[in-house]
Amino acid sequence: MFRILKKSLKTGVVTGQHPQATQPSERLTAEAREKALPFRQSLTIREVDTGSCNACEMEMNALANPIYDIERFGVHIAASPRHADALVVTGPVTVNMERALKDVHKQTPDPKIVIALGDCAINCGMFKGSYAVTGPVERHIPVDVRIPGCPPRPAEILKVLADLRGSRSSSGQ
């Protein structure tokens, strides 16, 4: 018990100890901002991987670590699309995942936002044209926000999510 306390005291607060996002992300459209209005206070995300190399998943997972601590901005990760306000989709849509993606989109209650995360989700990246890939996410479901990068850094994802919901700071300071 004392060991744990000592460890926590010694570690201190690490939240926000990360380099700021430098890359200018794609500008958000007015429609996307308007769609995000109901979620200014809290946004629940369901992540769907439709064929990524799993680097984007690692960066999404990193958002939940104590350094980025996405929950402090009222952003939660839901276990089911039925609990979600936004879908974050990574990877090109493979032939085998096409049906699952459409199903998930149907299962997510309106109003909802769809975020294409990473180059593959936006334009299929290196996998463009392959027999096993059906196309980018927007070929199957309407996409509102695009976050480019291979993979985008967590700070960049955080910045877009903050912009989307109209808050000024993403660093939490």
Binding site: R3, I4, K7, T11, V14, H18, P19, E47, V48, D49, T50, G51, S52, C53, N54, A55, C56, E57, M58, E59, M60, N61, A62, A64, N65, P66, I67, Y68, I77, A79, S80, P81, G91, P92, T94, V95, N96, M97, R99, A100, V104, G125, M126, F127, G129, S130, Y131, A132, V133, C150, P151, R153
Partner: protein, 530 residues
């Protein structure tokens, strides 16, 4: 224990009529076996007490347009784990059948189903003839790795249903999970048959993420494909790109400069560190011990930020190239790495004692998800999972690559095969990786970073390479085509061997322990599905 050359001699003595010598490929002895005799020869090689060859890789090549034949290659690792022995057989003309070795060697079962899907060759006698990579909605006759199948074919969608193995009886239920899971993880389907809480059977139905990577390699320039190799499985960026580069370097006969070899080991160990740290935390998290998870993900994030400062990529992308490395690490950067690692090691050691002081945690870990040594051996399990079950294998020691011949790796080995053993392997490997990086800093020589190739490989020439990624042994086969392009590239992730084994590790465990067992394996879906 017998090395490959004596092993080949022994096979020749036992099966003289059906075996023909082929010239060795880069030191690996090669035997051509008559197609119908492959099962007996393979069985002998696998089970003979003196040989104990483990099937490491089974791949097919379509030699068109140069020759109208398919070739099947069976790569065995000899009992000393150092040597490879290769059996090859040809399928000529319109013949589409080959005898299955799965009834004798479990480890072949996914390979043969994969070959059936990708090439349309039928493994006669295979106990499980369902599709593997191609899901049921793929049209009949679409076999992507055949040379007459265009890489950009648009597939029609047909109807079909995967026939899961079913257990019937009073009180037996099926629990379908996936392809989309509750956490932020990759897609895959698990079908449990349960009676009450205990799992009676698990069937893994994967390949949802199949992106056609092996076909995408074909036709690319040897030098251009590094970026694609990095994206086979993103968390193993260095492991994959290094394995690919090594295969191509063997083809081009490039001698990589010593400094570059040290830097390769450095990057590979940095990758191992951040992944292992993440896994230790995630295993604790799946027992609901959030504190350890928070600390581990904090340490992991520090390493990812360090990677970003070193190479401009949190995943160390763009560091590997054919003939060497792209980015140098200066003396001051090396100092920074060692400083950060000193702090992390101290931090992590404190965490280890906190983790193992927690009785409710260790209670969840011990005797959970046991994979016995016998089952692991039968399925050809590799890497962290293998080393937790007593399979003493580590490519860094057995077939040293990069700078490991000079560094000397202490291989971590546990025997219990439960979740705790897999956690312990990772923890000990974290310390070992830190030690190796300190060693690299002491020994790294000055010198050039890249060596240039001076030849173009002949069409049909090929090379094999193995790298101990953080999950385990990554294998690459690269075969050259015309004008320095790739004719065939076979990629094998350690997960491809380990996924079938998880089906055995969960039997008898309760369903709520499955996420924990799965996490302790932490296999790649992307690398498996390709």
């Amino acid at each position: 224990m017998v090395d490959a050359i004596t092993g080949a001699k022994q096979l020749r003595e036992a099966f003289g009529n059906s075996i023909e010598d082929l010239p060795p490929v880069h030191g690996t002895p090669r035997l051509r076996v008559k197609k119908d005799d492959v099962p007996v020869v393979a069985h002998y090689l696998h089970t003979h007490p003196g040989l104990r060859g483990a099937l490491s890789l089974l791949w097919a090549v379509d030699h068109r347009p140069r020759e109208a034949r398919y070739e099947l290659c069976y790569l065995f690792t000899m009992a000393d784990r150092k040597d490879w022995l290769l059996l090859c057989t040809d399928i000529h003309g319109d013949d589409r059948l080959f005898p299955s070795i799965t009834p004798h060697i479990h480890a072949a079962k996914w390979y043969e189903r994969e070959i059936r899907d990708m090439f349309g060759l039928i493994p006669v006698g295979h106990p499980d003839m369902r599709r593997l990579v191609r899901h049921e909605h793929w049209p009949k006759g679409s076999h992507p790795l055949k040379k007459d199948f265009r890489w950009d074919t648009v597939l029609e969608r047909t109807q079909g249903q995967y026939a899961f193995r079913q257990i019937e009886g009073e009180g037996v239920f099926e629990v379908p999970v996936g392809p989309i899971h509750a956490g932020i993880i990759e897609p895959g389907h698990f079908r449990f048959s349960v009676a009450g809480e205990p799992i009676m059977q698990l069937e893994v139905h994967h390949f949802w993420k199949h992106r056609g990577i092996e076909k995408l390699f074909e036709g690319k320039n040897l030098a251009d494909a590094v970026a694609l190799a990095e994206r086979v499985s993103g968390d193993t960026t260095v492991g994959y790109s290094l394995a690919y580069c090594q295969a191509v370097e063997t083809l081009l006969r490039i001698d990589v400069p010593r400094r570059a070899r040290y830097l390769r080991s450095l990057f590979l160990e940095l990758e191992r560190l951040h992944n292992h740290l993440g896994d230790v935390g995630a295993i604790c998290n799946d027992t609901a011990y959030a504190l350890a998870h928070a600390h581990c993900s904090r340490l992991k994030e520090r390493l990812m930020q360090l990677n970003d400062r070193l190479a401009g990529s949190r995943f160390l992308r763009g560091t590997m190239t054919i003939g060497g490395v792209m980015s140098d690490v200066s003396a001051s950067q090396q100092g920074e790495i060692v400083d950060v690692l000193d702090q992390i090691e101290k931090d992590f050691s404190e965490l280890e004692s906190i983790i193992f002081a927690n009785a409710s945690l260790t209670d969840r870990l011990e005797t959970t998800g046991v994979l016995t040594e016998r089952t692991a051996w039968d399925h050809g399990v590799v890497g962290v999972v293998g080393r937790a079950s007593g399979i003493d294998q580590d490519v860094r020691r057995d077939r040293p690559f990069a700078a490991y011949d000079e560094l000397g790796v202490k291989v971590v080995l546990y025997r219990y095969g439960d979740v705790r053993a897999r956690l312990r392997v990772r923890m000990d490997e974290i310390h070992e990786s830190i030690r190796l990086i300190r060693e690299i800093r002491h020994r790294i020589p000055q010198g050039p970073l890249i060596a240039a190739p001076d030849r173009v490989p002949q069409p049909g020439e090929w090379a094999l390479s193995a790298v101990e990624g953080w999950r385990g042994e990554i294998l690459y086969v690269v075969m050259a085509g015309e004008n320095g392009r790739i004719h065939r590239c076979k990629v094998r992730d350690p997960s491809f061997m380990n996924w079938p084994a998880i089906q055995w590790a969960v039997v008898g465990n309760i369903v709520p322990d499955f996420p924990l067992i799965n996490k302790s394996f932490n296999l790649s879906y992307a690398g498996n599905d390709l």
